[in-house]
Symmetry: C2
Subunit: 528 residues, 2 copies
Amino acid sequence: MQCNSKSKGGKFRPYCIFRTMHFRLPALDLLDRLDFIEKCNRAVMEIAEKCVGITAIVGSPTLNNQPEGKKLFNSALVLSEGRIIFTANKSLLPTYDIFDEYRYFEPENTFSVFHFMGKRIALTVCEDLWDEQPFDNEFEKTRLYTLSPMEELARQDPDLIINISASPFSYTKTEAKADIFRSKALKYKIPVITVNQTGANTELIFDGASLIVNQHGEICYQLPFFEEDIQTFSLEDIISGNLMKESARPGAIPLIHKALVTGVRDYFSKTGLKSAIIGLSGGIDSAICLCLAAEALGNENVRALLMPSRYSSGHSVTDAVDLANNLKVHFDLISIEKPFSAFEEELATLFKGRERDVTEENIQARVRATLLMAVSNKFGCILLNTSNKSEAAVGYGTLYGDMAGGLSVIGDVYKTDIYRLAEYINHQKEIIPANIIKKEPSAELRPDQLDSDSLPEYSILDSILYQYIELQKPADRIIREGSDRDTVNRVIRMINFNEYKRYQAPPVLRISSKAFGAGRRMPLVARY
Amino acid sequence: MQCNSKSKGGKFRPYCIFRTMHFRLPALDLLDRLDFIEKCNRAVMEIAEKCVGITAIVGSPTLNNQPEGKKLFNSALVLSEGRIIFTANKSLLPTYDIFDEYRYFEPENTFSVFHFMGKRIALTVCEDLWDEQPFDNEFEKTRLYTLSPMEELARQDPDLIINISASPFSYTKTEAKADIFRSKALKYKIPVITVNQTGANTELIFDGASLIVNQHGEICYQLPFFEEDIQTFSLEDIISGNLMKESARPGAIPLIHKALVTGVRDYFSKTGLKSAIIGLSGGIDSAICLCLAAEALGNENVRALLMPSRYSSGHSVTDAVDLANNLKVHFDLISIEKPFSAFEEELATLFKGRERDVTEENIQARVRATLLMAVSNKFGCILLNTSNKSEAAVGYGTLYGDMAGGLSVIGDVYKTDIYRLAEYINHQKEIIPANIIKKEPSAELRPDQLDSDSLPEYSILDSILYQYIELQKPADRIIREGSDRDTVNRVIRMINFNEYKRYQAPPVLRISSKAFGAGRRMPLVARY
């Protein structure tokens, strides 16, 4: 993420550059390595060398030279003519959900505006402008910090706020984010220019959508979601109101769709990988994943493997074939019958006299994972995991079976939203065969099995999950607010019991305010 | 962890209680749930009700009632006669390695001693006494904080320091920990009584070994490592020096052994599980794990599965059988040949014209995992993972294969230390057959395969791994200090490349200052 300001013909002209390719945030524990910090600093100086006749703002870790405190600052650096001409260190260090900034950085406690071509600029890094923010979990304080950097900077009478950030996407937060910038512009009666990173890094997807807000708190301009872009604006235009341009914000489902496509695309491009494999069951989850992967990587870089069993319904294979054909994706078909039978035979003596149970269902899922990983190994394609958030939450999946994969594509999407995504994908023409959308969800691991044998209806399940996971409401409040007591208690027991499974799940593309993975750290052995 | 102080016949008599069972730390994101905090507070008040004629100190999260800042404090509470009579909130919040305290807690910035029976007690929580500490990574500052709580408390002229802590074991840190308490006693010329939690929670193992240090910085008494214990001491005895008792500190290998046994035992007891299964290959890693599990859970609660293949050497089965017999552990033998052949047949068409490669090796490992998990599912026993730290570091293992399991027993133990553990286990009589210890390490996944075909000698490998992982030295420094350039670069490439595998590994019992898992957070898509 960069924000540049450029002088041309004596006019003060701030403009913004959005570049995903060269940014791989967060750096995590690479920040514990002095050699990595030295590399960052060399990269900064390389950029500074290129800043001839132009001034650029870049973010970088910098060394804290004091004998006490954390070893680094999280800094915005102003670069010009080969030099760092101003440094603004971050004060408010988000250390919640996926953020671990206090792990590495010392909080700054002195503040000054940056004087540039006769203007006083309040240069802030991300959270420093977010001293008041709404959390989905009501237990979290809106004022999470005892300091307000912008309040400190305001004493120096700035003309303009520039905020550089790497703020990941959450489909419930797009409006709230814009409001934060609008409220600061209104409060201090000065424009806010904010640049946000775009592109994905493993599970985190940054939505770009950078904003220019005028001194009346009106959004003058918003750059697109999930895309790099360059635009040039003059400060005069921003202040005078010449810039006003209404741009409709896309709805949640189109944004989630674009986020997931970005997530898959960048995972591959940033790891240098090209092709993916998906196990196609004939169900809606793998269908959605295949659509997203084909859009992200190109249909020629995605292959599907159909692995019917003795329990697969007749339509499973035909539906899957129809979808692969619609997307022009190569597919192979391998029955799991022989390896499954071989396992059953080998285990027959040991299991003698015992009932068939979940063991045999898990064997089938693990045979499929073994086949998928074999093709992945042999052809060098990455297995994409197709579990959804509802399943992952209640542990309705097999570890080392259908929970396998290098990246979980829809692991942060509830089943009810999976149907909305299917509708969106099909909105112009039928890509996902109607039968895939209409059929009752089933794992097809025993005769006539349906998800509803083991789980509440998905609309009920998802409502409880959202309240417990995203909103972090206690069970008794979810019940008081209208959900069935037994169902709530059963669902919460399932969520808690299955932490051990999720511990070993692949990274999950994050689109909500609370995804499974690094942003949700639960003990495995607590009985709660 | 608790520290009690007791008044009897007018004498001030501090004593310490170590109880693992009721403590399940860290609570992690349960701290984000108001209902969990309310439960903690109810538990504290229950303890307070029992404090009749006795005063107890317990640790608990408490609500921060200020409108700004984090929602909680990390507190030491003094309980007496049904009430909380004093609260000391923690100021220094470790947020490095496995610690995430600033994720939940507001740092305290006011300090006062606790007046009790004519004495002034400096009551501190763990890190508050650790404002100066040595890190294995030299890049970390020794003075990680800009504040010294004990320096603040010293202005109030305390008679005694009490420190309650939950400080996990690291085999390189036992001496350094004791030194911290000794140096504080010496600096302020008052005794230090410190109680440390014992017992394990998933990956974290707390070593107890609580200390009483007199005002001359001498250790008067040390409670045992990894055991609950209760001892009563009078303050007069501590001050007068009557207490002096030399206790030899055990060496690193016996401590690691006891730590791992504790880790296995408590994982099972705290999850309510009883029995374990281990895949026994005839190699040293699974042998060590079987010994540890049998000691932790009792031989009757552990079962072994031997799964030879066409590539297994003759002695693999006989060595494994000898070990199981030595330990009186039940074992079954299932050949992987049939399922492996079934996979090969099913994949033959798709793989036609392609060379055999790592794909076929991985299939064997995954067939074994599927068999182990089938027995685990059918009999309700937990699969223990047997990968060592050297393998995990360089990715010498199969995801969903030999990397499977509910808990990694030796995933923080380098291969060279595995041999030391074997020697220690055999020090009184031969439990692990000598042949298991003597044979060349091999995965036995292709004819005549040896670990040394793919990896440097383990003594060389482990030295590089330790410098890169624990000490976090840059590659060029490891080379400059005597390691071969190509080997160092190759090893580091392997470590970095395999982050994606470790992401999905089971929790690892932590015995070092830098274990894989929650304490080491590396990006998956960075190319570094």
